[in-house]
Structures are given as structure tokens and as C-alpha cells.
């Protein structure tokens, strides 16, 4: 794998971000709205519930982490969509870049855009609502890492889907985080859910992060093994997603879809 083609994909995203304020705004505006909305909600909950329980690290922290995961996923798909929207597949895939390098470029682009979103969220949550990530201690890094890896995996799967079913399948990408959030135990312990949903939740790496977060905030002991399982699952999903993308790409090359992508299908 060569670095230069990966850097090219990242550079293209930086050029686009530099070229228009709307692109930068789209990275920060939604996360800012989420933090403000949930920030006030947690403040209100703190005033109406029994004293001693602080909703800020539980709910606002969860919102922040989940938005970070969403930004990571969208960071991958948005970089891919640039090639869809500018009908650039022939130029890119007719060049010597390999599929691995292309995917690595999408991931690297996502690191930049999601980090920007995370910094904005951290600044707002800390300044306006007193959220302190010090509450999570050194486990913040593995928490973010598991969410990052799972976001990458879902981003690659979403790209595969759009590559397979054409630009009209773009709508599929947007609701993915919303569909997953009820099952991932983002805002409530998974014990709240029926048993069969709990089994499903165990297949989702974010569940291990949010259960861990709640354990820390409520003074319980966190199971390191469960966090390791979450990380291992996320890595497994990334490998699976890469295999799926490569297969979809190869099929698109075999059927001629890459060369006639605007047609959306070759059948």
C-alpha cells in the first residue's frame, strides 16, 4: 500500500473543505445543535429528579459519543459520495490506485472530519454544560477507538451499498445511526430491553462502550473484557466490510457498472 494515493484522497477533501464554508458548517452544525438540545434537557432533568444523580455525563456524554460515531461513519461515506456526485469513478478507478488505498483514503478523510466535529462538541459540552471527560478517565481513549472502528466499518458497508445499487441508494446511509441507536443501549442500560434485543445488542460494539460509560459514572466496576470484546467485534466488522466493498467493486467491474455508474444499474 502506497501513502501518496491515500494522501490524494485526503487532500481532495481538504480542498473541498477549504473551498466552501457550507461544507465546514455541515460538519459542525448538527453536532452543535445536538449538544445544545441535549445539554438543556440534561440540565432540566437534573432539576426535577432526586438530588445526587448527574445526567450530564450519562446523557450528554452518550450523545457526544454517539454523534462522534455518526460523524466517523458519515466521514467515510461523504468522501465516497464526492466521487459519486462528481461522476469521477472512471478517472479514479482508471488510475493506479488500489481498492485498499482508496478505502484507506476514505478512512483518513473521516479521521479529519470526525475529529473536527468531536472538538466542536467537546468545546460546547464543556463550556456550556460543564461536561468533563475526565470523569471517564483513561478509558475515554478505548471508548472513542471502539466507536471510531465501528463507524468506519458501517461507513464502508454504506459505500458498498451505494456502489452496488447506484446513487439513488444514497438515502440508505442517512438513517443507519438512528436505526442502530435503540439497540446499542446509547441512552439506557440494555437490561431495559427485552431479552432477544439484548442478544442483538451484544453484536453491536457501541453497546460495550455505553455500558462501560454508565458503569464508570455510577461508580460500578467496568469489565475490561467486555471492552476488549467490543473492540474485537469492531475490527471484525471492518475486515468484513472491506471484503464486502471489494466484492461489490469487483462485481461492478465485471458487469460494467463502474464504467456506466450514472445508469445506476446495468440490467
Amino acid at each position: 500500500m502506497r501513502i501518496t494515493p491515500i494522501a490524494a484522497i485526503v487532500l481532495r477533501q481538504l480542498y473541498l473543505l477549504r473551498g466552501g464554508a457550507t461544507r465546514v458548517l455541515s460538519l459542525v452544525i448538527w453536532v452543535a445543535i445536538d449538544i445544545i438540545l441535549w445539554g438543556f434537557m440534561t440540565k432540566y432533568l437534573n432539576t426535577v429528579t432526586a438530588a445526587g444523580f448527574d445526567f450530564v455525563p450519562v446523557l450528554l456524554g452518550a450523545v457526544l459519543m454517539w454523534d462522534f460515531f455518526t460523524r466517523v461513519m458519515l466521514g467515510v461515506t461523504m468522501a465516497f459520495f464526492e466521487d459519486v456526485w462528481s461522476r469521477n469513478f472512471l478517472n479514479v478507478f482508471g488510475s493506479p490506485i488500489s481498492i485498499t488505498e482508496y478505502l484507506a483514503g476514505l478512512v483518513a478523510s473521516s479521521i479529519i472530519t470526525s475529529t473536527l466535529g468531536l472538538l466542536v462538541m467537546l468545546a460546547l459540552a464543556t463550556a456550556l454544560f460543564g461536561l468533563s471527560f475526565l470523569a471517564y478517565g483513561g478509558l475515554l481513549v478505548p471508548f472513542l477507538m471502539v466507536l471510531f472502528l465501528f463507524g468506519i466499518a458501517l461507513g464502508i458497508v454504506a459505500c458498498s451499498f451505494v456502489l452496488r445499487y447506484g446513487p439513488a441508494a444514497e438515502w440508505f446511509v442517512w438513517p443507519i445511526p438512528a436505526i442502530l441507536s435503540p439497540f446499542a443501549g446509547v441512552f439506557y442500560p440494555i437490561s431495559t430491553m427485552p431479552t432477544w434485543v439484548q442478544r442483538l445488542a451484544h453484536a453491536l460494539p457501541p453497546m460495550y462502550v455505553f455500558e462501560g460509560m454508565r458503569a464508570i459514572v455510577t461508580g460500578r466496576t467496568i469489565s475490561m473484557m467486555s471492552l476488549v470484546i467490543g473492540g474485537a467485534l469492531a475490527v471484525f466488522y471492518i475486515l468484513g466490510a472491506s471484503v464486502v466493498f471489494t466484492r461489490v467493486y469487483r462485481k461492478a467491474v465485471r458487469t460494467g457498472l463502474i464504467a456506466r455508474y450514472s445508469a445506476e444499474s446495468v440490467s
Partner: protein
Amino acid sequence: MSILSVSNLRKVYGDTLAVDDLSFSTEPGEIVGLLGPNGAGKTTTINMILGVLEPSAGRIQVERHDLATDRREVLLRTNFAAVYAPLPGNLTVEQNLRFFAMLYGVQAIAERIATLLEQFDLARFRHTKCGVLSSGEQTRVSLAKAMLNEPRLLLLDEPTASLDPATAREVRAKIRNVTTATRVSVLWTSHNMYEVESVCDRVLFLSHGRVLLEGNPRTLPQEHGKSTLEELFIAVAREPLSLES
């Protein structure tokens, strides 16, 4: 040594045979015209050489590197420009050239871009977004991109299709000059027979995915009882069987 060698190339889409046992080669410094009516298999052939369409059978080699097993080496030596594949309109000329230079692993990118901007008369558009350029200017940017990696094989799919006659002539002259200077081998599709006659050293007439005729575009019509290349083209399109002997 041939630059491009295509052997027994075949592409089948379901029940449709798009390219049928196609074999040809191109030499250094040679411009080969790939002609034929719509649906003859020209773009399908170019897409297969570019690696974005997998052949059903056959072999493609560029300077003896096999596309099926050595894709990167083949594409490092190849580049293309096509009227239907403009560069992203939301990047400037320089940004596009830098992006593609990095994809192609070009060394000394700044110098290469400066040379090409000069060569294709694009220096004044350096910081202009490609989407606001005229068709002629966009074509010149695509050609500059196609020359970034100093390719040994250049694939041009109707490069002058959207250009006015004066700009088209200018573009043809530039490609001719580059070919002479760099000994790049060019595979050129066009429906403009005047253009083909003035630019190409050799033409391949395709019909139903097969090479029907091959030869010098300036003498081929007479060899087949036609007075112009255009007449020959129409005959190929309408009555290919009458020319097959």
C-alpha cells in the same frame, strides 16, 4: 516492442456480444484510430484497457505487463481522457492536477503541473474551478491530466467531440506534437473522419465488436472502392458484410 498488445479480447453482457475476439497492437509514437458506428465496441474496448471493465476473455498487455495480473504497472503507464469523464468541477485546475498526479505517483508534481499548464495554455485558469470552464478549456484540462504521468499509452475517447473546429484543430495539433515528442502510443476514437484522416497513422474499423478493416486512413477508402473515409465509415455502419471479404 509494441506498447499495447490486445489478444483475443471478448466481452459479453448477458446475451449481447459487445467485443468479439479483438486483437491488435500499437507501436511507440503511433496514433491508432478506433472507428465504428455507435455500439461497435469502441468504448467497451477502451474501458477494458483502462481496467474498469473486466473482459470475458482475452489478454491486455502494456509494455509486456499484463493488466489481469499487474494492474498497477499497466495503469502507471497508461492515462486517458474522454468527453464523458470530465474532472470534478468543484476543484480548481491546479487542485485537480495535483490530486491526479498523486494518484499516478508523479514525482516533482509542482514542476510537472507548471509544464502542463504552459503546454496546454491553462496557466491563467490555474485557480479556476473546472466546473466554470468552457468545454474547450475542460478538454484541455482533461488532456493535461492525461499527460501527467508521461504515459506510454494514451487512450482518448472522442477527445474533441464537444469542441468548435478551431479549438479541435488546436487540440489535435497539441496531441500530435506530444506524440512526436514523447513517442507515446495513442488509441483515439472519433466520429470525425476529417480528424481521423489528419491525425491517425492507422485505423481499425470495428463492427459488432470485431475488426472489419485495418489500414492507413488516407489510402484505405480507395482500397475498398470508396472515395472518402466518411463513405467507408457509412458503408461499415450500414453494410458491414459487403466489406468483410
